[in-house]
Symmetry: C2
Subunit: 502 residues, 2 copies
């Protein structure tokens, strides 16, 4: 009695996690393969680290440092032979593990070390509609290359990659900026003193995140965050950077410095960074990147200099870049909006230093694979739904061996096939199953057919078309079910499938 009261486990994913079925999985796998091909062609080698790292190796580099929660899934080691008490966590990106790998294996790796990596990452964030706590990233990074040629190459590769996965030229733009320019501007505005780098760190962090929210909050929202702070629609107040009106104007001017051509934008940036040596260096780097991209035929239809790109992450030290899809989609309320960012990255020269004490220059990009898949789906360009298997129906459960032999023959000929393995009593259920699987053809062999050495093959695609169509006239010449000699099974099924796709 008491037993019956034991509560059954809930059949649910944890909040913020989801399942992917069939074509969702294979479309992602195909996209990852295509991205890897481009990365590989550019000379990057594969690396796969585990999902679990020590918390100390990961460090705290999540963009969302405002929140009290650290944003990772973490727990303590409790097994003998490990290091009980050590904190472990799921990786939140693929860059922190790369820094750990390079520091750990640097004597065995070539320098520069160029690697790509793909896989899930986890963020312990408040789940919400469309916000998942596990998602895929696909990164490429060059570690040990001080030259901005490495950054320019990443931008070019990002543009090539987007086209390789099916985003047409004109539907995306790679935008490039440089943190050094921003630092120069902040020096001018008085929120960075090069001789005391730590002094305004908190303010600079707020400035950075404010600029990063331009898309979402608009000019006024950013201006409020640069000043005293901002109250959002729900009434929550976010403390601002405390800049004076003039200081804020300097920063706003930076964000709006983009002009029609790269030379004009660069000239405007030179004005803004004024006497800041760091700022001038940043502009020089952008100029070099622009020249390198130009030489590779990467024009402003693919990559542009855009000072409003800053990227939220605190660890970037030089060029930063972001790929944005420029076409409009409809949001959940049916309003058109730009699809937005699908990839981003930049130069981070200090991540390896955490481990080794020596600065190692590095730069890389991360593609948000799930967002990119959503974009292709929105454009109606996702992979075609995979075709279901030919279903060999079961008319006589004592002859499973015969049916299995048919499925084997079909598979040996390269045709996806299976025997119906549910309860065969109700033939209607078998047909419903074939329909649900998107099967192109069903094979039927009852006792009568068996005796006569024939099988029935049923065209399920045609059958569905006929079912939708009141006038049967036009289907007359093409029967939806035919009887063929058993020996011709494979050839006739193949012909039927080929007829469907023609």
């Amino acid at each position: 009695m008491a037993k019956d009261k034991i509560r059954r486990p809930r059949a649910e994913t944890p909040k913020g996690f989801r399942d992917y079925f069939g074509a969702e999985v294979t479309a992602r796998a195909a996209m990852l393969r295509r991205i890897a091909e481009v990365y590989h062609a550019y000379g990057f080698d594969a690396l796969e680290t585990s999902g679990v790292e020590t918390v100390e190796a990961l460090g705290k580099f999540l963009p969302d440092v405002d929140r009290p929660n650290e944003g990772v899934f973490a727990w303590q080691e409790d097994v003998e032979g490990a290091k009980p008490g050590d904190w472990l966590a799921l990786r939140y990106d693929l860059t922190a593990p790369l820094a750990r790998v390079y520091a750990q294996h640097r004597n065995d790796l070539p320098t520069p070390y160029r690697r790509y990596a793909m896989g899930p990452v986890w963020r312990n964030e408040k789940p919400g509609p469309g916000r998942f706590r596990q998602f895929y990233q696909c990164d490429a990074d060059t570690v040990g290359a001080p030259s901005v040629a490495a950054d320019a190459e990443i931008c070019a590769m990002l543009a090539d990659t987007l086209e390789a996965v099916g985003i047409s030229r004109g539907d995306y733009i790679v935008r490039v900026n440089n943190r050094k320019v921003l630092n120069g501007v902040m020096e001018v505005a008085g929120v960075l003193d090069p001789s005391e780098p730590e002094k305004f760190a908190a303010e600079r962090g707020i400035v950075l995140r404010a600029i990063d929210k331009l898309d979402r909050l608009g000019t006024n929202g950013v201006r409020a965050l640069l000043g005293e702070g901002r109250k959002d629609d729900s009434g929550d107040f976010t403390k601002g950077a405390g800049l004076g009106a003039e200081q804020a104007e300097v920063v706003m001017g930076f964000m709006e410095a983009r002009r029609d051509t790269a030379p004009e934008t660069l000239a405007r940036l030179r004005e803004l960074v004024g006497g800041s040596a760091m700022g001038a260096e940043g502009v020089d780097e952008l100029e070099t990147i622009a020249a390198l991209l130009d030489a590779q035929g990467m024009g402003p239809d693919r990559v542009v200099i855009d000072p409003s790109v800053v990227r939220g992450l605190g660890y970037y030290t030089g060029p930063v870049f972001e790929a944005e899809l420029t076409f409009e989609i409809l949001d959940e309320k049916g309003r058109p909006r730009q699809f937005g960012s699908v990839a981003g990255g930049g130069r981070y020269d200090d991540l390896v230093k955490r481990f080794t004490g020596q600065a190692v220059p590095a730069t890389g990009v991360s593609i948000g694979v799930d967002r990119l898949l959503a974009a292709l789906a929105a454009k109606g360009r996702s992979e075609a739904e995979a075709q279901g298997p030919v279903v060999v129906t079961v008319m006589d459960r004592d002859r499973m061996a015969d049916y299995q032999a048919m499925a084997s023959e079909l598979r040996a000929a390269g045709i996806r096939a299976e025997v119906y393995l549910g309860n065969p009593k109700n033939f209607g259920n078998q047909m419903k199953y074939a329909d649900r699987r998107g099967s192109p053809v069903a094979v039927i062999e009852g006792g009568d057919e068996k005796d006569r050495g024939v099988v029935q093959i049923k065209d399920l695609i045609l059958g569905a078309q006929i079912a939708q169509n009141a006038t049967l006239e036009e289907w007359k010449d093409r029967p939806s079910q035919i009887e063929v000699p058993r020996a011709e099974l494979v050839a006739r099924v193949r012909a039927m499938i080929e007829g469907q796709s023609s």
Copy 2:
């Protein structure tokens, strides 16, 4: 001052985790792709669940239930919007998540639901040499199919899959048994009373795990575990099932019931299960499976009935199977040993019932992808080491754009290529880099070459061969470095690479 004393993070994976580089990653990806192709041809659809599940959904089905630790990595939810206090865990296999998925989505899924899944799973076990806490599985399961035709199909597919990934016929065997037969034997031995199924549960668990250790402990070790218990080499004592000598003999007789042919083995099993109805049903099922496999041409060189296979997992309810590689490898001490198990599975009719209260028949197989890769490597049949990129060297750092243009041209022609992005000052370092990357060709264009409109292309494979060979005579006709017009760069690099592989 104090700052310098801050301890740097250790650049280490947690114990029991590791990194995979280059060809290790791509070889695994290629194997997963090949396995997926076979599963797909058999009519299975892809499913990808997240790495994280609720602890209650996962349940406790790990084979190693002896240990106090539950064997999973788990933590509590602590984020608003989730369910703070709920326990989450990394999945330890792909079967438990499948049961959850089927229970959650059963109204939207076809029945039978046939899915394959691949990805990492995590076990919170004591790490040791070669024992990793994250590893890959690749599963296929049919949910909702009561017939043992589904089990027979899984066995046939497993054999086909092993051959598809490069294991030759004769180098593997799929062994099949049935838990119902074992239960019948235990009924005869008096450790199972069909009218009181819970009564001897603990003893049966010990019997099961003891039989599963036959390979490792030998006959005497198993006999000890069936009786009072066993003291291992380290002096640790494992409590036994407490069977009397006669009872233990019955169980031992079962394990050794395999005969030369399937009919003889089945006849012997019928003797052993005596009057047990459950045991007789199990033997009938094995007979059906043998007949179905036979009809598909799966002879005893590929699949055999073998009563010594039991599989450690507690949740199996009917047929169980295991794929074993039969060739010898050398262990870490240089002694030959059989490679052993690389895949296993069976029928588990009660996993979905945990959630829904209704029994749902299911059967499936899980391939240990990392072990299978190790096996292929041991046989020298792993994927060939991937070729490194053509390296365009940097002779003049002001002409990076020229070098990038060369790399772009090569890539556009389908040749993997990159510009050297490290510090170009030392040309020797550039050559060392190319060597380390396994580059086939280096491209060199100094100021002099630029002026003359030519480039040097250097055959690094040939260069390495010459370096190893004292007599240069045989290389006379094929210089390791040639000068070619800049316009012929792509064609001549391609010809050089093709010459290397011929």
